[in-house]
Assembly symmetry: C2
Homo-oligomer: 232 residues x 2
């Protein structure tokens, strides 16, 4: 399952909402990308790997619709990131800007295993494993402690959804550069179809309910802790 | 109350333990400093403001022992940070390094109010208020959500100690650049003496107990959340 917020900002007076999740699901595959960092960079990468935009239409090229494995999907995205980097930092378009892009790609192509990769700004990538079953990109630290405590390779799907939402809740409360609505994608292994794709806004009844319950449970847990022995 | 870890690192193969808390308590005042950032910078600042080291002993100078108010203490530290910056980045000692220092100073001088300031690398500073009753420096994000949820201006002292310890626990679990032992200082308003100054190691029975309880409470709260409605 994947969860992303939609907040982007170019300074506190320039805040907008853009989805950071892009999915292809033509029948033989479900591949979803989530991105963080410079929106111009990540949108260029998405355009390249989903629609082949920016390429010579007379030359054959792969997209997420045509790659044969998830590993190839990660390579395709990594190469697109490198290409955008080269274009943005050399030649007539050279810009001396902070090149910043992180992408998570996850999914399954019929005949291949379900996989998830984290692609760095340099275009290289790592794969999720039994030891590290989740990835975060962007404003990741606020929501990491609860994942570190509870998320395991064998965490069931409904547990993963709960964890992702309470992790996002902590981030929403502590950092205004992260904002609702959020996009939630659920995929079941070997199904090759999207199980759920939800847009979660402030008034989503389930998210509201678990935010309230989680907040109350934390306050109660805090109150129930024994008093420190150093105050007499 | 103040809490600091003791981990410093110059890369993952160069980890050491240094206290980041320094206190003066001569009878008419308790002033404590906590520091984050480049250790050479912050130690130079501490040496300057507590012992007057690096100054001309023939000229009169203030230290934390002689300043007349907490505001003057913050100014003294801010000026010391600026002085170390100038010395490190100009003249024969010029170094092109990342100048990074954050300092919290808190305490009370008899006749003045209890106050807390956050001093930045630029030497300027802000004061804690009713709206923002706590400060964090260094690796702050992991431990911030629980403080944002619960810490208030009127949180009692024992609650503040519990909160600081569970906030530190989240950080310890998620980031190896933060490590035990921790230094905990408790001061009661208008007492002009230290109420408690504890070094908390892995085997501290109270900290072990609340870490276990907190972890169990979070897991239980997570388990008790209702299942998401999108998985049928």
């Amino acid at each position: 399952m994947l969860l992303s917020d939609t907040r982007t900002n170019a300074g506190p007076d320039n805040i907008a909402s853009f989805t950071k999740m892009n999915v292809v699901a033509p029948g033989d595959r479900v591949i979803a990308m989530m991105s963080a960092g410079n929106l111009a960079v990540t949108q260029a990468v998405v355009a390249r790997v989903i629609d082949g935009l920016g390429l010579d239409p007379n030359e054959p090229f792969d997209t997420l619709m045509t790659v044969k494995s998830m590993y190839e999907a990660a390579q395709l995205i990594g190469n697109a990131v490198s290409r955008v980097y080269t274009s943005a930092t050399s030649g007539p378009n050279a810009q001396n800007f902070m090149f910043d892009a992180s992408i998570i790609v996850a999914g399954q192509i019929a005949g291949d295993k379900m996989k998830m990769f984290h692609i760095y700004a340099a275009g290289n990538f790592i794969e999720a494993t039994v030891d590290t079953p989740f990835f975060q990109i962007g404003e990741a630290k606020y929501g990491k402690p609860i994942l570190d405590r509870v998320a395991r390779y064998d965490t069931p799907l409904d547990g993963a959804v709960k964890l992702a939402l309470i992790s996002m809740d902590s981030t929403l409360r502590s950092n205004f550069s992260v904002g609702l609505p959020a996009d939630l994608l659920i995929y079941r292994r070997d199904s090759q179809e999207i199980a759920a794709y939800e847009r979660i806004a402030e008034d989503d009844p389930y998210f509201k309910d678990i935010r309230t319950r989680w907040s109350e449970a934390l306050r109660e847990a805090y109150r129930d802790l024994p008093a420190p022995p150093w105050l007499s």
